[in-house]
Symmetry: C2
Subunit: 141 residues, 2 copies
DNA sequence: AATTAAAATAAGAATCATTCTTGACTGTGG
DNA sequence: CCACAGTCAAGAATGATTCTTATTTTAATT
C-alpha cells in the first residue's frame, strides 16, 4: 500500500495509486464496492451501487475501471459459464462454489500444501499461469 | 430431404437414439464432427464443418443440436472466460488446459484416487454436482 | 399410401454483455 | 497559463447466443 499525501473530500484515506494504477474517483468507488460487499458482483451490479456515490458514472466507465483494476492485478474476474463476468477482490489462489439453491458464490481455498501436479495428469513441460476452478451444487443444512 | 426408414446413405450405422435423444441427421453430423476431430470446436466451427454434409443447415440448428446433446449428457460444454462456448465429447471427469502459444486445448485428467475433499476446503455440507477446471499456460519443449 | 400431431429445422430478428468510438474533461508538468 | 496524456460519458457497434415463426420432417395410425 502507498501512503497518501494530499487529502480531498472524495478520497478519504484511499491510496492515490495501487500497483502503478492511478486511483481516480471512479476507480476508487468501484474498488471500494468490491471490497465492502464481497459478493462477486457483475459490472451491472457495481454500476448500480456506485451510482449512489457518483450519479453521473456510466456503465462503460465501470467496465473500464474493472478492466484496469484486473489488468493491474488488483482484482480478479470470475466466470460462470457464459454468464456476465463477476469480480472478486480476493487475490489468493482460490476457486468458486456456486450454490444453486441460493445463488450465492463462495470462495473455495485449496488445502495447504496441495500442488497441481499432485492432483492432475498434466502433459510434460506444462507451465500453468492461471487456474480457474468453478464448482456448482448445493449446501445440505 | 429423403426419408428412409430402413437404410439411408446419411445414416450408416449410427444409433437412432442416444440417451433418449432421437438422433436426427443434423444431430448425427454435429455429434460425428465432435467425435472425429476432438478439437473442442465452437458452434461456429461445427457449423462450417457440418455444412459440407448438410449444406442447408443453419447456425441456429447447430446451436439447437449442441444444446440437445448437452442436455442429454452426450457432450459437454467447455468455457474459457467469456469466449464462445466450446464442445467436448469426452464425458469423463476432466479439466482443460489452454496452451496460449498454440491455442490448442488439451483434456486434463485427475490423477486416480484424487477426491475433491482432499484438495479443497469446502464449506461443510457442500454437495458438488459439477466441476469446471480451466488452466492456461504454455508447454515448454 | 394418406392423415395427423408432435418434434425438429431454417431463416432471420432480437437480446444482451461487452467493447469501441468520439469528443469533452481533468490533472500534471513545464 | 498552456500543452499533453490519461480519463471519462454517452451512445453506437459488435458478436455470441437465443428467440420467433413458418415450414418440414418424423412417427404413429389409419
Amino acid at each position: 500500500m502507498v501512503s497518501d499525501h494530499t487529502h480531498s473530500p472524495d478520497n478519504d484515506d484511499f491510496p492515490q495509486e495501487i500497483n502503478g494504477l492511478r486511483m481516480t474517483r471512479q476507480r476508487k468507488e468501484v474498488y471500494r464496492c468490491l471490497m465492502e460487499h464481497r459478493v462477486h458482483p457483475t459490472a451491472q451490479d457495481v454500476f448500480l451501487e456506485v451510482k449512489d456515490k457518483l450519479p453521473q458514472i456510466s456503465l462503460a466507465t465501470v467496465y473500464n475501471c474493472l478492466e484496469a483494476l484486473t489488468q493491474h492485478g488488483i482484482i480478479r474476474q470470475v466466470h460462470f459459464d457464459r454468464e456476465s463476468c463477476r469480480y472478486c477482490p480476493n487475490l489468493l489462489d482460490h476457486g468458486h462454489f456456486h450454490d444453486q439453491a441460493t445463488g450465492k458464490i463462495h470462495d473455495v481455498t485449496f488445502k495447504p500444501g496441495v500442488k497441481l501436479e499432485d492432483v492432475l495428469d498434466l502433459p510434460p513441460g506444462t507451465v500453468v499461469s492461471n487456474i480457474e476452478l468453478t464448482l456448482r451444487g448445493t449446501i445440505a443444512s
